[in-house]
């Protein structure tokens, strides 16, 4: 097990190197950021001086080497536009994204778990049809549009909830619903279908025939076995959740990493862009590793060596 984790971590470093090289070249093939930092009427002489000052006149592999060298010394660089260390900016924004993400996950799980299970147990009933329909509908709506609809209904028309900001608990309601919406829809469907499959298995029939309470049968024998595909889907959908958080944060002006990345990309703030790509890269790799490890925890037949 430990050897497996170690191997995966070495792999992770390699992946992050490839990711950073890819992003670095995409950024640097697209133009000279020096001209963006100077006033619009800067002379070409000034731009040239600025480029030399920033080391942008060097060959791209030298620049990348310098970037890595600084990175390994814990220096993520300085933002072009905010004039603050990238590390500071990211560590200020990250807790906001994390809190929102956790709230959304909790909301999605609390709703989808009972919904998906009841739909599977009472198959083809009204509850099942309604749950399936709303799940399909939920998966068909782009996150940014749900965010706008919620804002229109609850902030503009009803004036119940604030439009943006992070001050109070009330500020969390709409962003949580927007970000959790898609995951909730997806999870409801996956829980329903994996539960249906499990309920047909022999061990469920055995559990029932030995007189076990229906509740115990479903929760202990059904749910645990049905959770494996649910975890798999989680792992495969992390990228979509990431996209959702970028969209949600943009609509609600949430000061997290998602909005930071959009601003940095549109504003050509290269050091921040590199920073957010690596942050999200580390996050996704670690979450994927956790997903893989949880298989072994949920199903003892799976062992990693």
């Amino acid at each position: 097990m430990l050897a497996y984790v170690a191997r995966r971590l070495v792999q992770a470093v390699l992946i992050l190197l490839i990711l950073s090289a890819l992003t670095f070249s995409l950024l640097h093939l697209s133009g000279n950021p020096a001209s963006l930092l100077l006033p619009a009427d800067a002379t070409s002489e000034q731009i040239k001086n600025m480029s030399e000052l920033m080391g942008l006149d060097l060959p791209i592999y030298v620049q990348y080497g310098r970037f890595l060298d600084r990175l390994f010394h814990g220096d993520f660089g300085t933002s072009y536009r905010m004039n603050r260390p990238v590390w500071d900016i990211i560590t200020t924004a990250f807790p906001h994204t994390l809190k929102l993400g956790v709230c959304a996950m909790i909301f999605a799980s609390l709703l989808s778990l009972p919904l998906g299970m009841v739909a599977a147990i009472k198959r083809d009933s009204i509850v099942d049809l309604a749950a399936t329909f709303f799940a399909t509908l939920g998966q068909s709506m782009p996150t940014f549009w749900i965010a706008i609809l919620l804002m229109l209904a609850f902030s503009v028309k009803l004036d119940w909830l604030p439009v943006s900001g992070t001050g109070s608990l009330l500020h969390y309601v709409l962003p949580t619903l927007s970000l959790g919406w898609y995951s909730n829809a997806l999870l409801t469907r996956v829980i329903r279908s994996s539960m249906l499959e499990v309920l047909n298995q022999d061990y469920i029939r055995t559990a029932r025939s030995k007189g076990l309470l229906e509740r115990t049968t479903i929760l202990k024998h059904g749910l645990r076995n049905a959770s494996l595909p649910v975890i798999t889907i989680w792992g495969m959908q992390l990228g979509t959740v990431l996209m959702g958080s970028v969209a949600t944060e943009t609509v609600f002006g949430w000061p997290g990493i998602g909005r930071l990345s959009v601003d940095a990309i549109l504003g050509r703030d290269y050091p921040i862009v590199m920073g957010v790509v690596l942050t999200f890269g580390v996050l996704l790799i670690l979450l994927n590793l956790l997903v893989d490890l949880s298989y072994a925890f949920l199903d003892p037949r799976i062992a990693y060596s």
Binding site: I15, I18, L19, L22, T23, L26, L27, L29, S30, G31, T136, L137, Q139, S140, M141, P142, T143, F144, W145, I148, L149, M151, L152, V156, S193, L196, G235, M236, L238, G239, L242, M243, V246, A247, T250, V251, S261, V262, I265, L266, V273, V276, V277, F280, G281, L283, L284, I285, N288
Partner: protein, 287 residues
């Protein structure tokens, strides 16, 4: 023989309410976007500042026409812009689905059929791609090259090919061991013959299921990129662009940001319905 099988699938698609609704939704939206010039007399980019932000069902002062879905912040007809926007969305999604399907199926079949280090390499690549923040890379790519149609299609295709590869590989692996492939091989059939005659036709079904689901996904991806300002740019009547610029008027003109989203939702819902029914038809086990 082949023809009747295809017909059978289509008949079964239309024998469920879900299938009928899905097929209807997609055909109505696609056909009306194609014949847009015959449905509306307005031009998608013609501004009419006198009528800016008019609510749905506003009549022209001289009685010569009607803005059925209202107008936007520059007085452009919403219905016309939505129809043209649907056209762009569908075009991008179809192209992306086709390209990612060809790449994914080819790599998946090759890795399932050849095995060895080729398979390890390709599948490792698929795994790695899942743990990359591809959405950010896509945004960077488009925003730092150019938001041209071709770049957006390429980004979405590269983003979505992995699912085809997984499914194609899994199907190829199980087909390789079946009796009819064994028989064909023992009769001296070449690898290429087996691939073209036995493997490819039989993985078409699962691939089509993925394709219809990915069609919806591609539409959402494109709309999100455009909404965030890194995809198609104004004044292009793309659905995501329309929602982004309508967002500023959400308190005064609700129809600007909501109506284009309804079309996105219906398109994706139609694709998801069709995908679900096709999956039930071909693989009842997955229900």
């Amino acid at each position: 023989m082949k023809r009747s099988k295809k017909f059978d699938t289509f008949r079964r698609l239309l024998s469920t309410p879900k299938g009928v609704v899905g097929v209807l939704l997609i055909s109505i939206l696609v056909v009306s976007s194609l014949v847009a010039p015959y449905i509306t007399a307005h031009n998608p980019s013609k501004q009419n500042l006198r009528y800016r932000n008019s609510p749905p069902l506003t009549e022209l002062a001289d009685g010569s026409g009607l803005f059925i879905l209202g107008t936007d912040q520059l007085g452009r007809d919403m219905l016309t812009r939505i129809l043209y926007g649907t056209r762009i969305s569908v075009l991008i999604a179809l192209a992306a689905v086709f390209i990612s399907g060809v790449i994914g199926v080819t790599l998946g079949v090759v890795s399932g059929f050849v095995g060895g280090w080729v398979e390890t390499l390709i599948m490792r690549f698929v795994d790695i791609q899942l743990s990359l923040p591809l959405f950010l890379v896509a945004m960077i790519w488009i925003s730092f090259s150019s938001p041209a149609l071709i770049n957006i299609i390429a980004v979405i295709a590269i983003w979505t090919w992995t699912q085809y590869a997984r499914v194609a590989r899994a199907s190829t692996l199980s087909l390789r061991e079946t009796g009819f492939v064994e028989a064909s091989r023992s009769m001296g059939a070449s690898q290429l013959w087996i691939l073209a005659k036995h493997i490819l036709p039989n993985i078409l079904a699962p691939v089509l299921v993925i394709a219809s689901l990915q069609f919806g996904r591609a539409i959402i991806l494109e709309a999100t990129l455009s909404f965030l300002g890194v995809g198609l740019q104004p004044p292009t009547p793309a659905l995501g662009v329309m929602i982004a610029s309508g967002r500023q008027y959400v308190d005064t003109a609700w129809w600007l940001a909501t109506l284009p989203g309804v079309v996105i939702m219906l398109l994706v819902l139609g694709a998801n319905f069709v995908g679900d029914v096709l999956r039930d038809v071909w693989d009842p086990k997955l229900r």
